[in-house]
């Protein structure tokens, strides 16, 4: 009996995670660190007490949203490698609105700032969508170019427009913040915020959108076969742009989480925030499935937060976790190898099963 495709889709990522952690362990041993101490520090530093759990959940929040965004574009056949730039713009514009309209009541200000973040990300990614639809330009190249443009433009805006030469904007007012006092206190003053609820909600929304609506059907159809879907009367142009806009909107929302929830301001950055590529990694590990994204987002959130405690508690450099994450994605990307091995194992099992069966049959015959 062959293993069902569904089971494989769950087993393969788990095997990849295992292999990634194993490789991280080997790297630690190779450089004379204690892998057990290292991983124990990682677990303690991510789930050890309510504070760390709060931090893990907070770190997972934007990763989940960015991953959802990446996977919407991916299932329509596009590679939105520019999620990092959309995160920056979502972050920047949510802060701008939060600072500009600081006088509004919380009930209006928070949604307004979130919408600003979504819109900024959606427009930034939409540029790539429009260019792809009307000029055939590769969305991979365009979004890469937009990543660094967003970084420099954001730094410029912070220094020249939002402040007078400062490296960071002032903090937003309490009525623009996603933090919730009760939750903050319950987690011993961690940076957890209500964005987590939005992220979980968006997992459900995207699941319904992609699986149960005409919009989602068209997006997936275009991704599977653009010519056939054009022939069936769907507009490829419209769907390309829509996919990129939804994708960028979600990434922008992820950026707004960093602004309104985590940092409460925006500052000069020397490189694009790691939320972008880590979010991509979350999506790739989950195979683009919203429920899977929720879990892999929590996993990567725990890895990243836990890694901060590793140097103090075990002497292992933080970066070992980034090596683990990159390796996990390598194994996911090279899934052909794992599938091939699994199929071989199954065949082997099937063959030995037939031998056993025929032998018992023979014995019974005797």
């Amino acid at each position: 009996m062959s293993m069902k495709e569904k089971t494989k889709n769950i087993v393969l990522p788990l095997v990849s995670v295992f292999l990634g952690l194993l490789l991280g362990g080997i790297v630690m041993v190779a450089f004379k660190y204690d892998p057990i101490q290292g991983y124990l520090a990682l677990i303690k530093g991510s789930l050890g007490n309510t504070f760390y759990i709060g931090e893990t959940l907070r770190h997972a929040t934007p990763l989940i949203l960015v991953a959802l965004g990446f996977s919407v574009a991916r299932s329509a056949g596009f590679f939105n490698i520019g999620v990092a730039g959309q995160v920056i713009f979502g972050w920047l514009f949510s802060i701008i609105v939060a600072l500009q309209f600081a006088g509004l009541p919380k009930l209006f200000l928070v949604p307004l700032s979130l919408v600003a973040g979504i819109a900024a990300g959606a427009i930034w990614a939409g540029i790539a969508g429009v260019l792809r639809a009307y000029f055939g330009t590769s969305e991979v190249i365009v979004t890469i170019m937009l990543n660094y443009s967003a970084l420099y433009l954001s730094n410029y805006a912070i220094r020249q427009i939002l402040t007078e030469g400062d490296d960071a904007t002032p903090k937003i007012a309490k009525n623009a913040s996603l933090r919730w006092q009760t939750l903050t206190e319950a987690t011993n003053y961690s940076t957890i915020h209500m964005g987590l609820v939005i992220a979980i909600l968006m997992c459900v929304v995207i699941m319904i959108l992609m699986q149960k609506t005409t919009i989602g059907f068209e997006l997936r159809a275009v991704g599977l076969n653009p010519f056939a879907s054009e022939y069936a009367g769907m507009s490829a142009k419209k769907n390309i742009i829509l996919a990129m806009v939804i994708s960028g909107g979600l990434a922008g929302l992820g950026g707004a989480m960093e602004g309104l929830g985590n940092f409460q301001n925006i500052f000069i950055m020397s490189s694009v925030p790691s939320t972008g590529f880590d979010g991509m990694a979350v999506a790739l590990l989950a195979g683009g499935q919203p429920l899977g994204i929720l879990f892999s987002g929590l996993l990567f959130g725990a890895l990243k937060v836990g890694s901060v405690s590793m140097p103090m508690a075990s002497g292992v450099p933080t970066e070992v976790v980034d090596i683990v994450i990159a390796s996990i994605i390598f194994f996911v990307g090279a899934g052909y190898l794992l599938r091939y091995i699994m199929e071989r194992l199954e065949k082997h099992k099937a063959v030995s099963a037939t031998i056993v069966l025929s032998e018992t049959a023979r014995k019974e015959g005797e």
Binding site: I81, F135, Y148, N155, Q160, D322, I325, A326, F330, A334
Partner: protein
């Protein structure tokens, strides 16, 4: 006037050299049909290995050290790009995903190793032996042109230009180049003619690792002079843009890389240059990116790169 021009030219060359090498690397990879968005990561590894080698053996080797470090970075770059080659050619991984793995892996690995080698610090010390500035004999004596182009200038940049001419020759005038291009255009046809498709693809990716590693080493040893997580900040992606700008042609890639290097250098030395003093550096920083998008939109569209670029070739049985 001459001294201002001299400053502009020499700093443009300093910033261009890493881009030229890396863009040439990208050209080889994509000509063989393998998209390489991992150039950024390859540069990081090149920069790291060159700085470590420079710090460790500099005192024994003296002035020649930076050149030896280029060779070291070339080897390490090739080894690192092997990950991309194995993943895309043998394991049928998506080229973009695999390239992204390189970009995630490189800074993680390099900073991790920096911490293990240098007492948990996230950056290395500054190197003693860098490329510095060289005055080319004879040529620098030329009237007007001499002081502008050949006095106190970046010698690596001139090497990079010579290497681009050599790469152009290899890609367009040799049997190897023809085979490389045919694999990138139509691997099935190439295969039926007896060309070893995966060997050619390996060659393309590994050469991109060699040149990307050198590019990173040039960056580290002529601009940053040490290694940290921010030594390479987007240069790999600019190099990729230069390759596209140059339409996958080594000379075109070189020209675009020189231009982008010029734009990058202006954002650094702009305040000394009359005429652009009042332009905010941000516009010069984003110019390469916006120009690439514009060129893609207006002139190149989708049909200009190698036809089978980014497609995994699966040999039929």
């Amino acid at each position: 006037m001459v001294s201002i021009l001299s400053i502009i030219v020499s700093s443009a060359l300093i910033y261009s050299a890493p881009l030229v090498f890396t863009a040439l690397g990208g050209t080889f990879s994509e000509r063989s049909g393998t998209i390489n968005v991992g150039l950024e990561g390859t540069m990081v590894i090149g920069a790291f290995s060159s700085v470590v080698f420079n710090l460790t053996f500099g005192d024994k080797m003296g002035e020649i050290t930076p050149w030896i470090c280029l060779l070291v970075a070339a080897v390490i770059g090739a080894l690192f790009s092997l990950i991309h080659a194995v993943a895309t050619i043998n394991l049928r991984a998506n080229h973009i995903i695999s390239g992204t793995v390189l970009n995630m892996m490189a800074p993680a690995l390099a900073v991790f190793l920096t911490r293990t080698l240098y007492e948990e610090k996230g950056q290395t010390d500054f190197i003693k032996y860098s490329f510095g500035k060289t005055t080319i004999p004879l040529l620098s004596k030329l009237p007007v042109l001499g002081p502008i182009f050949f006095k106190d200038t970046s010698i690596v940049a001139y090497v990079a230009i010579l290497v681009s001419i050599f790469c152009w020759f290899v890609i367009y005038k040799t049997q190897f180049g023809l085979r490389l291009r045919s694999v990138g255009e139509n691997p099935q046809a190439a295969d039926t003619l007896g060309i070893n498709v995966s060997a050619m693809k390996y060659a393309g990716v590994l050469i991109s690792g060699v040149l990307g590693g050198i590019g990173g080493a040039v960056m580290a040893q002529s601009v940053s002079l040490n290694f940290s997580a921010t030594t390479i900040a987007g240069q790999g992606f600019i190099a990729m843009a230069a390759m596209i700008f140059g339409k996958w042609n080594p000379l075109g890639a070189m020209g675009a890389a020189l231009f982008f290097g010029f734009a990058q250098s202006l954002s650094v030395i702009g305040s000394y240059v009359p005429g652009i003093k009042n332009i905010d550096p941000v516009w010069l920083q984003v110019a390469p990116y916006f120009l690439t998008i514009l060129v893609l939109m207006l002139f190149i569209g989708k049909a200009q790169g190698p036809a089978a670029n980014g497609k995994t070739y699966i040999k039929s049985k």
